[in-house]
């Protein structure tokens, strides 16, 4: 509990000890993508359904929000409208994608993501195509301005914490267990009385909702959205965050998001070609630490500390003396 409290304090006071606006913005970006990754993990990690089309949901929220704001309807309408649009789209995506399993599911999500991207790219009369859509100004919730980097950071932090708490509760709930069950033994779950399709469908919706939330945060951060946010590459990057960090934990997607964002922004100042490094890290993680960075690091740490503890023991253990690991 104290580790959690410490983390919260550090996060809340970040703008003060980080100093530079640039780094505060990095932190905001990490939080936005952490929300996206955590939501994606519900589908990929808990339900075991890999998807390469979630950027479509992210983008729908951002575009819907932008269009509503530019239509003069205010931010409350924008957020509500965007999230409703995301849920509706997620329902359609889910109903179609769940016609396939495994690889078929992935392929369908790719197709759906590409259709969404195609609309964003080509339906110029609505989406302005490649030029994207800009909005002016950020919301002013309860009279607090989000125009500054620090203000936006805190608002994003609040949303992130809500997302984290909600997903944590979900994971620890009976429904969360049902979702995990369908990942590991869908046939048996069926025979045990669970409605496997409905469980997956609802997990997809829940996952999509958070993609939409992340999309809105993205819109407010950049005050701009373009088709790039909906492209296959964006879905791939999100998947990278989840896989790299580790799908079994809550911390994993957050770590993955941090890794990708830091690579993209900070490392690119020092390492000329960050994409290469990112790809290489990803390949290395999949090959050597398939369970992801967080569990893999934990495993490595345990192995390293266990080795150190064992060494002071007698070089030739007496027979029957050491029964454990």
């Amino acid at each position: 509990m104290t580790r959690l409290a410490l983390a919260l304090v550090l996060l809340a006071t970040l703008p003060f000890w980080v100093g530079n606006t640039y780094y505060v913005n990095i932190a905001t970006q990490i939080l936005i993508y952490a929300v996206f990754a955590l939501g994606l993990n519900v589908l990929v990690g808990y339900a075991g359904l890999v998807t390469l089309g979630h950027a479509g949901l992210f983008g729908i929220a951002a575009y819907a929000g932008a269009l509503i704001v530019n239509g003069g309807h205010g931010h409350v309408a924008a957020v509500t409208g965007a999230l409703l649009a995301t849920l509706a789209t997620a329902a359609i995506f889910a109903a179609l994608a769940l016609r396939g399993t495994g690889l078929g599911f992935v392929m369908i999500t790719v197709a759906l993501g590409q259709i969404t991207w195609g609309i964003a790219y080509r339906w110029i009369s609505i989406t302005n195509g490649d030029n994207g859509v800009s909005i002016r100004g950020r919301p002013v919730p309860f009279g607090l301005s989000l125009a500054s980097a620090t203000g936006l950071y805190w608002a994003t932090l609040v949303v992130f914490l809500v997302a984290l708490a909600t997903i944590a509760i979900f994971a620890a709930s009976p429904f969360g267990a049902s979702v995990r069950g369908t990942r590991d033994q869908p046939q048996r779950m069926n025979a045990l009385g669970y409605h496997v399709w409905m469980i997956r469908f609802l997990a997809f919706l829940f996952s999509g909702l958070w993609s939409g939330v992340a999309g809105m945060l993205f819109l407010y951060y950049n005050q701009f959205v373009s088709p790039q946010a909906v492209a296959l590459g964006a879905s791939a990057e999100a998947l990278l965050m989840v896989i790299a960090g580790g799908t079994g934990t809550l911390l994993g997607p957050i770590a993955g998001a941090a890794l990708v964002v830091i690579m993209k922004n900070v490392a690119s100042a020092y390492i000329v070609r960050w994409n290469f490094v990112l790809g290489a890290i990803f390949v290395a993680i999949v090959v050597f630490m398939p369970e992801g960075l967080v569990p893999g690091t934990v495993r490595l740490w345990r192995w390293a500390t266990a080795t150190r503890r064992r060494r002071p023991a007698a070089p030739a253990p007496a027979p029957g003396a050491e029964g454990g690991r």
């Binding site: 509760i169 709930s173 009976p174 045990l192």
Partner: protein
């Protein structure tokens, strides 16, 4: 009173007929054994009864109700439970969590996204009790990956029993067990009260024959012989199938 009845069941995969006009009726509280050489269609029959496979023709009745069109997931709620020939447990969970899945499947709680599963004391106590019935309570918090094959077979049975079934389908519950383990499982099965009807598929003749009251012999998807122990053992066709005469 017949609790489970199967009438004229047919199932083919492409050109291969796996279940051919199978009919049988199991009475309340009966201990029925289904035997037959490999490939006789025994597990397929189970899959048809639980609804995991859809029959090409025929009807299945449970407690007098036609369940042929009832989706698989509803049959568990009607009192049907099964174990699997190939162990299909949840590898990333503990034994307690495995059995909890069984209990949760029949409870409305399984749709609840807000409650804390770890705080459901009644449910978890029932899961522990189910594990105790198969003598595994002391391993409740052990991850499945750290248990032996024999222990996992018992978890399979615990999961089925936890559903408080009225009809229990056991698919080779003794497979791969040592002599002692077979004795333990046999004791366990014998101790199941008569309000549960049991249908078992088995290869191990010694143990199974001692347990069964009526026996159905399947061969190439067809019912060849049916009767009590003495009748089946004496029947010439049984010897033909098993000894190839």
């Amino acid at each position: 009173m017949t609790v489970l009845e199967v009438r004229g069941l047919h199932k083919s995969f492409g050109g291969l007929c796996v279940t051919a006009d199978v009919s049988l009726a199991v009475a309340a509280g009966e201990r029925r054994l289904i035997i037959g050489p490999n490939g006789a269609g025994k597990t397929t029959l189970f899959n048809l009864i639980t609804g995991e496979l859809r029959p090409d023709a025929g009807a299945i009745t449970l407690f007098g109700d036609d369940i042929t069109r009832v989706p698989s997931r509803r049959r568990a709620h009607l009192g049907l439970a099964r174990t699997y020939q190939i162990i299909t447990l949840f590898p990333r969970e503990t034994l307690l969590q495995n059995v909890t899945f069984s209990l949760l499947g029949l409870s409305r709680l399984r749709w609840n996204p807000l409650a804390r599963l770890a705080g459901q004391t009644t449910l978890l106590a029932a899961a522990r009790a189910a594990l105790a019935r198969v003598g595994l309570e002391h391993l409740a918090d052990r991850p499945l990956t750290e248990t032996s094959y024999g222990e996992r077979r018992r978890v399979e049975i615990a999961m089925a029993l936890a559903q408080n079934p009225r009809v229990l389908l056991l698919d080779e519950p003794f497979a791969g067990l040592s002599i002692e383990e077979r004795r333990d499982v046999h004791q366990l099965l014998v101790g199941i009260p008569r309000d549960v009807t049991i249908v078992m598929i088995e290869h191990d003749m010694d143990t199974a024959l001692g347990f069964a009251e009526r026996i159905t012999v399947l061969h190439f998807g067809e019912v060849i012989v049916e009767g009590n122990r003495a009748e089946v053992v004496a029947h010439p066709r049984t010897r033909e199938i098993y000894l190839g005469e």
